[in-house]
């Protein structure tokens, strides 16, 4: 980090900025939040008394002859996942530019991050709508309930991250994120990385493991 960045920080006992320590603490707490939601999904993913049946990934026929169509679309979600992962790289590049005082680089990479975030949220909106049209809602069965709760809360986190980064983009555009204030972006970036990491767990658990 540049000397400017050091100059603006107050002395702390650990040497770590208060806000940075706070976001790490918050992330630690959020781990338990998502761990609980993921456990809830794992408990319920095979629970269905109605609606699309126990294996949403592939066509399945029950012993009584009832046929279930697969509902999950892996290619589209893989695309969203890839973009979300790339966005973690982009936000790092944006931060590096912010710390060097390169406003244009900051704006470009932050815009790339935002594009990925928007795409992911859009992908999820499409996916949810698609599921509802196919007859899977919160109410249909416990697979649906725990799926929508888990991915919905993750999506809410992504949306909040997008709003946060968009705010910072506007600030950067107005020239209000000089290197001395790059910590503002670093904290948002830490949150963004965390939201990514959670998705790295959710994606295989929900979409890849049958």
């Amino acid at each position: 980090m540049s000397d400017h960045a050091h100059a603006m920080q107050l002395e702390t006992s650990t040497g770590l900025d208060n806000r940075k320590l706070a976001i790490w603490t918050f992330i630690g707490s959020e781990c338990l939040f998502f761990a609980t939601l993921i456990s809830n999904y794992l408990v319920h993913k095979q629970t269905w008394l109605s609606g699309p049946g126990p294996f949403p990934h592939e066509r399945w026929t029950s012993p009584s002859g009832q046929a279930f169509e697969p509902i999950i679309e892996i290619p589209l979600v893989t695309m969203g996942t890839a973009l979300l992962l790339f966005s973690s790289l982009f936000v790092v590049l944006a931060l590096a530019n912010a710390q060097r005082g390169n406003r244009n680089g900051l704006l470009v990479w932050l815009a790339a991050t935002l594009f990925c975030g928007f795409f992911f949220v859009g992908m999820q909106v499409y996916e949810f709508t698609h599921f509802v049209h196919r007859g899977l809602t919160l109410k249909t069965n416990l697979f649906g309930a725990s799926f929508f709760t888990l991915t919905g809360f993750h999506g809410t986190h992504v949306t909040l991250g997008v709003i946060w980064l968009l705010t910072l983009w506007i600030e950067a555009f107005r020239g209000k994120i000089p290197p001395a204030k790059s910590l503002n972006l670093e904290i948002a970036a830490l949150y963004w990385h965390f939201v990514d990491v959670v998705w790295i767990v959710i994606f295989p658990v929900v979409y890849l493991i049958k």
């Binding site: 006992s13 208060n18 707490s29 919160l138 416990l142």
Partner: protein
């Protein structure tokens, strides 16, 4: 007279920073001491409310076949009594001490995030009011503080009762989490030079461990409450067996939170006792490091014992054995603490002042509660005791005999620092004896009634089962207990009208908060102290060879203070608005939620972009 000299000093000290007063200054305050006082006053109000609820319950149970309360009212009162005492009284009373004392004890000028601190308080207040507003709709939560599924489903609880509970607790959870992040960072990052971790006062250590528990336990209950909210409002079936849901999932999620919550309630009291005993024994705390590590060990084990609340659900011998063993194991670090407290007092020059009375009372009462806890850590014993008054006796001995005795010791100990006034010693001792006698009369007979088979959570009992006499004794005891807090209130009001007579260091204290005037000035320390040991003030006195001079009240010119802010309050209102919006979904549609979210974002944005000072 010393008092007039102090008063003159105070008048003199207002020159630099104007003393703030008026309603607006309280609504916008970010001073950790004022936030602490707000926490304390609000929590004490809720404590009295929960106490009145308890006395009503006791009047109902004072005689067999009583019709004083209807079964429905009884259910609402016992649910609200438990919920209030845990979330609106004991936790925020601890938060009062976190707020007021942690920065003072570690030598800081404020918490790490003063505005977040104010936000925590306003959210707590809003959550408490939201929860209690249910009484005005005649629909207070009535399913018990543990909210067992499927009692909480729309099918079995069609009214708004459970809605108030599940939404209200979500609001309160936000307050706890925000405060936990704040104090975690404050304790790690805001220590005065030389205040190493292993030099921190024990209250700060126990508070630190409490924040870790809050951070790890509250997300779990948040998810559980969200799932319940989805079941009730959005048609999911997480806890509905007919759709494949599992009511036991609720119990697991609830107790993974619920058992650490027990330590969230008791560890701050452990910390307070560890401050009071050394000061009034004139000896340093015995076994400092053992105290730190046993506290951390209790917290760690606290996450591995939750299913001892569920022995009667039939989990099988392996699970029962595991949870029985971990539960018994917790008695070891707790025992270490008790022996260290005894070791602190042993051979000391004991000063029988009011805080010491409560601290010693704490040890005696908490041992009884701890031992009955070890009794039902054994599944076969628990199968007999579960759902009887024996359990009620147990947790009141740890929560009242433990937490409330400890918090009351802290209240008497730090009252001079917080208010600038000494409480009356005689009235304090009257309070103590009434509380000790009333407490034991109320709760000790519950052991016997429970073992004789009197079930808890039932609004009355028939004649002729041999329950009458002991229940009468308990009801009389609860009235004495209530009276003891009337004496406390009288003490507060009586001394509040007197002069500000508290010196900086009335008890010959060992920790930094006693080095500054009572009450402290807004910036706490005119000069940031340097710390060289565990009992910095005792060392300073030893070096000087006597008491320290009364610290002057200074003008504070040039000391940087954070600006007041209204936005934490606005954000708290918005957050509560969201929950009111969920509550009124069936009336106004999503618009309530939208308005709440808008206010929340408006508050947060103004907060983020306002100069912090």
């Amino acid at each position: 007279m010393a008092t007039t000299a102090l008063d003159q000093q105070r008048a003199h000290a207002t020159a630099g920073h104007a003393e703030k007063s008026g309603l607006w200054s309280w609504l916008t305050t970010v001073d950790h001491k004022r936030v602490g006082i707000l926490y304390g006053a609000t929590a004490f109000f809720f404590f009295l409310l929960g106490g009145i609820e308890a006395i009503l319950l006791r009047i109902q149970l004072g005689s067999p076949n009583s019709t004083f309360l209807s079964p429905d009212t009884y259910n609402q009162l016992f649910t609200m009594h438990g919920t209030t005492m845990i979330f609106l009284a004991i936790m925020p009373l601890s938060a009062m001490f976190f707020n007021f004392m942690i920065p003072l004890m570690i030598g800081a000028r404020d918490v790490a995030f003063p505005r977040l601190n104010a936000f925590s308080y306003w959210v707590f207040l809003a959550g408490g009011l939201f929860l209690n507003s249910s009484f005005f709709f005649g629909a207070a939560p009535d399913q018990g503080w543990y909210g067992y599924a499927n009692l909480t489903s729309r099918q079995y609880s069609p009214g708004m009762n459970v809605d108030f509970w599940t939404l209200g607790l979500q609001i309160l959870g936000v307050a706890s989490l925000a405060a936990a992040v704040n104090f975690f960072v404050t304790i790690l990052n805001m220590r005065a030079p030389g205040m190493k971790l292993m030099r921190m006062p024990m209250f700060v250590w126990m508070s630190f461990i409490t924040q870790v528990l809050l951070l790890l336990a509250f997300p779990v209950i948040t998810v559980a409450l969200i799932l319940l909210m989805f079941d009730r409002f959005f048609g999911t079936h997480f806890f509905v067996p007919s759709a494949g849901g599992d009511p036991l999932l609720w119990q697991h999620l609830f107790w993974i939170f619920g058992h650490p919550e027990v330590y969230i309630l008791i560890l701050p009291a452990f910390g307070i006792i560890s401050e009071v005993l050394p000061v009034f024994s004139r000896k340093p705390l015995f076994g400092y490091a053992a105290m730190v590590f046993s506290g951390a060990f209790i917290a760690f084990l606290g996450f591995g014992v939750w299913s001892h609340h569920m022995f009667t659900t039939g989990m099988g011998p392996i699970a029962d054995t595991f949870f029985a063993l971990t539960t018994m194991l917790i008695a070891i670090p707790t025992g270490v603490k008790i022996f260290n407290w005894l070791g602190t007092v042993w051979g000391g020059s004991i000063q029988y002042r009011v805080p010491m009375y409560f601290a010693l009372g704490f040890i005696a009462m908490f041992i009884i509660g701890g031992l009955s806890g070890v009794m039902h850590s054994s599944p076969p014993a628990d199968l007999q005791q579960n759902d009887t008054y024996f359990i009620v006796a147990h947790f009141h001995y740890v929560l009242f005999g433990g937490s409330i005795f400890g918090l009351t010791a802290g209240a008497y100990y730090w009252w001079p620092k917080m208010s600038g006034r000494m409480l009356d010693e005689t009235l304090g001792k009257v309070h103590f004896w009434l509380m000790l006698i009333g407490f034991n009369l109320t709760f000790f007979p519950m052991h016997i009634l429970g073992l004789n088979g009197m079930p808890r959570r039932v609004y009355t009992y028939p004649e002729g089962l041999g329950f009458e006499t002991l229940n009468q004794v308990e009801t009389v005891g609860s009235l004495i207990l209530g009276l003891s807090f009337v004496v406390f209130l009288f003490n507060i009001f009586k001394t509040a009208r007197g002069p500000r007579n508290a010196p900086a260091d009335p008890w010959n204290g060992a920790t930094l908060e006693w080095a500054i005037p009572s009450p402290p000035q807004e910036w706490n320390f005119a000069e940031v102290p340097a710390v060289h040991g565990r009992d910095p003030l005792w060392e300073a006195k030893r070096e000087r060879g006597g008491p320290l001079p009364e610290p002057p009240r200074v003008s504070g010119e040039g000391i940087h203070l954070p600006n007041p802010s209204i936005w934490p309050l606005v954000a708290a209102v918005g957050l509560t608005g969201v929950m009111v919006g969920v509550m009124t979904l069936h009336i106004v549609g999503p618009w309530g939620v939208v308005v709440g979210l808008s206010i929340l974002f408006f508050g947060v944005y103004n907060w983020a972009f306002e100069p912090a000072g």
